[in-house]
């Protein structure tokens, strides 16, 4: 038995003690018992995953069972995540991605990428960040963008011989998968239209008289966002060495393999057309008032109807079911934590403690607290709605210029999405690939967000003061 396995019972007992300790502690004034008990269950679930006491699914099931059986949360609300559009979009994107890999189109695209950038693993990492940064302004949903990137990254990993269950090759896939997650977070900060959370935050900032348009946003974000895009692939490469560095022959081999593959097959054509239609639907979703999830369902339906995907393929997607369960439960519990007033309460109390603190310190502390509080959220939008205005108000009262505080909080609302595996729905598809352990995801998430925070504080602050006042 390994040392880690020996410690597991101790960790489980620690988690039980934490849950009981919070649950039976006096309810803080201003909160209800329900909000406090839900916090006990939610916090314990997250801590138990971080301490490797339980996998996410186990932790989520225990938390959901506890809060429903004790009457803390109404069953209908606890299970509402199973019907939430964002959760279903993740599941549909998983299943559609399978078709891209199965028909060979993903391999063909990955060979094209390798032919262009494949002289090194680092080059592949940069190709992911650059591709995402270029397509991001056209995608109002970063979950949908993840659905486009994931099958290509999966094919890249598999094409380079990386398998999640093979210790010798797993790290290459893990590096590429985390590059996918991190690129989605930093490209969302670069463009106003790269995620639905940005316009939401902009509408809240407008309440303070701040008008932010596409160009204003891009000017403000350009220096810190491009710096993170430029440095993150390299930093992740250092933090999580993929185990394979130079592959000088890979581009030539990829071109040979592409020639050998010949023309597109019937299934590849079918997937290409369906995928292109889905991308068009996602890009035009706001204009045409289309549901992102319905677009994904329609695409999946066509792939099934044309036998590109079969029911036998669906039977093999057990991992998708596991992801669906834990994501739906944590999404609903986090939403309830917000609706029961816990998030607003903690935000208001924390900011109240900052009264009288000097302006620069207040700015830094507010930003760090805002980012750290994302440990409790499973939705970027919910975080922005619950806390953005609270933190902006306190910053303004402390004398921090409103444009500086607003932009810093808005950008943080994008880059904090790699903090935990569940911190943004776009992460889930990459997490579900199995290339990264929960511990690695939390560690890389914290370090990546810490790096982004540093860049935005050190470079972003003077830049924002210069261009936005």
């Amino acid at each position: 038995m390994t040392a880690a396995a020996n410690h597991k019972p101790v960790r489980k007992l620690l988690c039980l003690a934490l849950a009981l300790g919070i649950w039976f502690a006096p309810v803080p004034a201003g909160l209800t018992a329900e909000a406090w008990h839900l916090f006990a269950a939610f916090a314990t679930a997250i801590v138990s995953v971080i301490l490797n006491a339980f996998p996410l699914l186990t932790a989520a099931m225990l938390a959901a069972g506890a809060v429903v059986l004790t009457g803390t949360v109404d069953p209908a609300k606890a299970f509402a995540g199973f019907a939430h559009a964002s959760v279903l979009l993740v599941v549909a994107a998983f299943l559609v991605a399978n078709s891209v890999v199965k028909c060979g189109l993903g391999r063909r695209i990955s060979l094209l990428v390798v032919a262009g950038f494949g002289r090194s693993t680092l080059g592949l990492g940069y190709s992911i960040f650059l591709t995402d940064a270029l397509i991001a302004p056209a995608f109002p949903s970063n979950t949908a963008r993840g659905g486009v990137l994931y099958p290509i990254i999966l094919s890249l990993a598999q094409g380079n011989g990386s398998r999640p269950d093979d210790a010798a090759t797993r790290r290459l896939g893990g590096y590429l998968m985390f590059c996918g997650m991190a690129s989605l977070s930093v490209s969302s900060a670069l463009w106003l239209t790269a995620t639905s959370t940005n316009p939401l935050g902009v509408s809240l900032a407008a309440q303070r008289g701040l008008k932010i348009g596409f160009g204003t946003w891009l000017l403000a974000s350009s220096v810190p966002a491009l710096t993170t895009i430029l440095l993150l692939p390299l930093i992740l490469y250092r933090l999580f060495p993929p185990g394979m560095a130079g592959t000088p022959d890979a581009p030539a081999m990829a071109r040979t393999e592409l020639r050998r593959m010949g023309r597109l097959t019937r299934d590849e054509w079918m997937v290409a057309v369906v995928f292109a239609s889905m991308v068009a639907g996602w890009v035009l979703a706001d204009t045409l008032r289309l549901s992102l999830t319905a677009v994904a369902f329609a695409g999946l339906g066509v792939l099934l109807a044309t036998d590109v995907l079969t029911l036998a393929d669906m039977d093999l997607q057990g991992g998708t079911l596991v992801t669906f369960f834990w994501l739906a439960v944590l999404f609903a519990l986090s939403t309830q934590l917000n609706e029961l007033g816990f998030m607003g309460y903690v935000g208001e109390r924390l900011t109240a403690l900052l009264g009288g603190i000097a302006r620069p310190a207040a700015y830094v502390i507010l930003l760090v607290l805002y980012v750290l509080m994302h440990y409790m959220f499973v939705s970027q939008g919910a975080h922005v709605l619950a806390l953005f205005s609270v933190f902006l108000d306190v910053g303004a009262r402390a004398g921090v210029p409103v444009p500086l505080m607003a932009f810093s909080l808005l950008f943080a609302s994008s880059y904090f999405s790699t903090l935990t595996p569940q911190a943004g729905s776009q992460n889930i598809i990459f997490v579900g690939s199995g290339y990264l352990t929960q511990g690695e995801l939390y560690r890389l998430g914290l370090l990546t967000v810490g790096f982004c925070l540093l860049v935005y504080l050190v470079l972003g602050t003077p830049w924002l003061l210069l261009v936005a006042g």
Partner: protein
Amino acid sequence: MCYKPRPMSDFRTEVGRRWLGLVTLLLLAACGRTDGSAERALPAGEWREFEGSWTAAGTRETLPFGPDRRTAIFHLTGSLLLTGSQRPALGFRAEAIGFSDTRAGMEGRCVWTDERGDRVFSELKGQFVGDGNRVAGTFVGGTGRYAGVTGEYTFQWQYVVDAGDGAVSGRVVGLKGRARLVSPPGAPSK
């Protein structure tokens, strides 16, 4: 330079410690006061003035009622925190339901619940639920230490944002009011 990866268990412990640090920080902030007994003691029957804020989330179903008129039913819940030395409590969970009409205004009911489970009931009247609109509330009774409470309050929506699929989120600042308790705030719940 040779990069030597650290064992995963070290990182888990480190990340776990940091997370536990965050939980502790949140707990310290949240548990700063565990009851409302530190509010300035005033004799029962005295008017208690307070100010506060309310961050709310919930649902709103809208029914268009002509070209320039909208009607809606809403259900909002969230944390209501009070300030002022005379406040009846540090804060409540506030839950409101109501009917809102861009022309006729809004009528609603609101329940404030504190950490002991004691409740304050109020009736709401005002403008359509939307940015900058004003609402007035009248306390009509309560349970436990708030039994028989009277008083009134007003507030203004700083913003109300539709978050899609009927979800709505809003924030109230500048909530001001006064309440007269029949029993002192430290009295045990009934």
